[in-house]
Symmetry: C2
Subunit: 331 residues, 2 copies
């Protein structure tokens, strides 16, 4: 296993310790519940935004806690949903008079944990709403989900509700907004290699030296098909056609385009992919109004990418452009 790891069981706590040490004034790590929260949360003047999922998708979600994004993230172990009592405790810690919004990617384990955590927290008098993200067009149902999977598109849902909640939006408004962003967001990914789960110590699945997996999930679960490795342009063209034809995105639309790396792909390659996607969208009469190139939602050290499109309107552009402060930064 070619990874930086000590005891695989400590992979997640050691990562969270590192995040907390790097952000001593803005973030707080609560080891009892495997939780990263804003140091200044909760605030009576805003709804608390919480996301949780398995670990291994960093920076999602433990590194996107901060002003204008999440108020807290409660991750599980690598590729494992958070325990329901951790969801409960996180919700209790973040409870405010304005309520709590759970944002959950559509994976069965995550949904179960958040459903139970919500029910238990509601029994304690906390007002909670849940929005499910299901942006992945690759497969209708999957080995890990009923319905479409929730993948990198969750960034846009979180960015929008994070900005709106800073401006004082109430819980009903945020639920509508999150659903609206999810409804105009579509993604698809593909893998060149498998990631390696630290506790397993070997690749999560096998891919031949000349193979790729189109439509892969963020845990390496199967996509549409396995086939011979293709050129960067051919890969992007297929992802773009699948994503664009699904909503569909049409000539005259303004979009945000995200080229997301899956953990093991360097940014040089992501910009090669970005250039092609941008040009192909222009050829379709679709304007790229905002772009995001980087590793936003990963699958451990998997080499691969995903492409996300979001249909924009003026309100959504303002929310995307609003300030945000998170652990992942260059400067």
């Amino acid at each position: 296993m070619k990874k930086f790891v000590n005891d695989p069981k400590q992979y997640v706590p050691e990562m969270l310790t590192g995040i907390a040490l790097a952000n001593p004034t803005t973030l707080r790590y609560v080891p009892e519940y495997n939780l990263i929260m804003r140091a200044d949360a909760p605030s009576d003047k805003k709804v608390s935004i919480i996301q949780g999922s398995g670990s291994g998708h960093e920076p999602a979600h433990v590194m996107i806690v901060g002003r204008g994004m999440l108020d807290a993230a409660c991750p599980g172990d690598v590729f494992a949903a958070p325990p329901m009592d951790y969801v409960l405790e996180t919700t209790k810690l973040l409870a405010t008079p304005m309520g709590v919004l759970h944002i959950v990617n559509n994976y069965t384990g995550d949904r179960m944990a958040f459903d139970m955590g919500k029910e238990m927290a509601e029994a304690e008098g906390i007002r909670i709403e849940t929005v499910i993200v299901d942006d992945d067009v690759s497969v209708k149902d999957s080995t890990w989900t009923v319905g479409r999977r929730g993948v990198a598109g969750n960034f846009f849902v979180i960015k929008a509700v994070g900005a709106a909640s800073e401006q004082g939006a109430d819980l009903d408004h945020l639920v509508d907004l999150a659903k609206r962003v999810n409804s105009v967001t579509r993604s698809m990914g593909m893998a060149l290699t498998s990631g390696t789960v630290p506790a397993a110590g070997r690749p999560n699945f096998e891919l031949g030296d000349d193979e790729m997996e189109m439509g892969v999930g963020i845990h390496g679960e199967p996509g549409r098909r396995r086939e011979k490795l293709a050129s960067a342009n051919a890969i992007i063209d297929e992802l773009l056609e699948a994503v664009a034809s699904d909503l569909p995105f049409k000539s005259g639309d303004n979009v945000a385009l995200m080229i997301n790396g899956l953990g093991g792909t360097p940014i040089s390659e992501l910009y090669i992919l970005y250039g092609r996607a941008h040009q192909q969208l222009e050829a379709r009469g679709i304007k790229v109004q905002r772009n995001y190139v980087g590793s936003y939602c990963t699958s451990l050290d998997m080499a691969g990418c995903s492409l996300t499109l979001v249909r924009l309107d003026d309100d959504l552009v303002k929310l995307l452009d609003a300030p945000a402060e998170v652990a992942v930064r260059i400067f």
Copy 2:
């Protein structure tokens, strides 16, 4: 070769096209000279800061062009110095009455290209100074250098002179500042895997499944020794001891700590490394005043890391905290 690539010969131009399309108002791509420059450069009111090196180290340097950082970057092909006439043309395009500062990592090919480019540009009446970055403590001389190599520490030199040049500092001041930052900056890296040069189509060097290369260079050139894969903590402890004992960094020092990914390592693992390095520095009485965790200076898709320490003073902290706008961003 498990990479996103079309024609390997077009790897660099396609990447630069992507960068330009993603930053249409702030950056300009000049294909004739393989050059990325600020759209608003040159300015009569500031010294132009130029860096060039082989490609394959992104975001260094083509993605750190922008306000408060580089005014232009002239990359060569992957792991190849830029042609001297490209250095000349870049310098001519960026020439200002206040002069031009070349920042060059200490690699023999880069130094030759910049020496010749400088000489030719001076013959045309342009005032130029050069500062060499040589922060890598791994080896005294190397297969690619006389003297120490210049690696991820170049970020701090560029950040400091980029900020100072925005404030109107003159060329002599910037030369002194760049030398001063380089003199308090030390780095060392190590590889878990080799990167793959697109034109070669196979790993740049061979490492066994249970081996690592301590002190590796950013082109995969040999370091101090090859040995059995160790734990994350053992790796950081060795890098930290080598770096800290070199300057040396001592109890009472304030430092910037960078944990840099080499391209194929996900940010989850970098934070595991960061946590250990932070704790070990604290145990030595050294305060981490600023931290940088991410992939700043890579070696294609190499899995690996480097650790950089910079001894800080109040002036340098202000320059590191000054605003900067570059292609690589999350929001």
